[in-house]
Amino acid sequence: MILTKEQQAILNGEKGETLAKVMKTLIMYGNAFEAEKLVPITSQYNHLVTSFGLKVMSPVYDLMQQLLEAGVASGQKFSVDPRPLDKNVPASFLQNLVFNKFMYTKQDFYEKQLEELGLMDKDAFSCTCYMDEVGNKPKKGEVLSWAESSAVVYANSVLGARCNRNSGIIDIMGSIVGYVPYFGLLTDEGRKATWIIKVQTSKKPEAQLLGSAIGMKVMEDVPYVIGLDKWLGNELNDSACSYLKDFGAATASNGAVGLYHIANLTPEAVENGEKLIAEGAQEYVIDDAELERVKKNYPIVWKDPDAAPKLCFIGCPHLSLSQLKDWTERIEGSLKNSGKKKIAIPTVLTAAPKVLEKFEKTDYASRLKAMGVITSYICPLMYMNNPLCKKMPVITSSNKLRTYTSAKYYTDDEILHAITNGGK
């Protein structure tokens, strides 16, 4: 890798041993991808994936402490993934005991570290940092050092920013030195599609199911999706962006997609069309039967597959304001049709703190609360990652949550039916 004088000086230890190790880490990381240089980060803010003070992750906090003690704080302010705990979310005595006394005992300590390292503000905890309300929305072409798979794929695909699927810790190391290695999704070549996906469904495909099918097929490659604009239109409005947020999260968690192009919709596809498709790209046709096949193949991991659900999570990744309103209306409508006033399964809708703050100012919030629905800023994944929740029948419309936990996946319509009518 060719380094500038400044980069070489940092590597040589002229700005301290710790900064030299940070630089060495980024260079070795880049070397693994034959990166020829480091390029400056150009976004205003960074986004980190590690938001949780898990006792088991002590090596991470020890490393952060090394950075702080060496005085090498992040050059950028940053947002971070959602908090793992919220008293609003139903939990048993035993679960609370495990969460507070065993698992997340480092939470307060780690949040203090984040503040010292450059957290944007005390509410900057969300996987959807790019929502207008949160304020970390990079512009097209900007170079990022983000982690969080769902945020990276959104920033690349919907916003046209340039970011690799960086891991936690690498994310903050980028903004400490101000550079990231130039490879993969930062390059024009790396943004070309090596898969053509033909969507031939008879109705608008479920975002999280379509994303799952594509993720599992293409893994870390870049797909160019044809036929989805028929259902989403040609404008990146609220509805399309919310759909693509959920779709992308599923591609990234069920596979390892960091960038997708949607013909006639996402910025680079609108600009360049099929010139984005690499020579020799493979093809994958998705119709109703293929989506059904994918859904049927999800493993059932509940001890009793017929157990009645005890909890429902909607919002992984966090919901947008329009999605919160939409769910309010849908739940109201479904309850009305079945002659009920309250939901049958405890249900949590999750969104960024600042999105929830805005939602609370609308009349939708009281309507949702009146039906018994809970809102929270929590990370459902962090809530679910313990043996107690493994034994608990939880349902979700998130394919990301399904992938990482024992939660069972339902489509939005199925979830709506379950929470308003009860049953499985």
Partner: protein, 147 residues
Amino acid sequence: MKQFQGRVITPGEVTAQAVVTTQGFNTLASLQMALQFGDKDVKCGDQNNEELHGKPLINKALCLPQTIGSTTGGLVLYCACAMKKNPACMLFANHIDSLAAAGAVLSDVWVDGVTMPVIDSLGDEFLSYVKDGMTITVKPGGIVEVG
């Protein structure tokens, strides 16, 4: 015995028994529960990976195409190394992915006293040849012996 030539991501020499997955290795889903709740065998917790689910990973030669899933993947691998609960080595058939590379590099630069050789680009033939329980030897220069 068969020999494969790969590319060194992080160096080291080791002999260990193989555990093999032909699908992407989801680092978070595979390791988090085991690390969190002190499973000394570090059994794979990824319910979506039938080949690995429930199998011990500690001190094994993990043979895989690539890693997938959450971008916590690299730091989970880093934590596994810092806690000495890591695989003996990671052997990638494909080019390494960014999350695994991050985990390998972070462990190499920031963790003292732990060596986890990571070799990539071993090719499709490596993954179709190697089977669970085979003895793997990682030699200098990215040479991997399977016997």
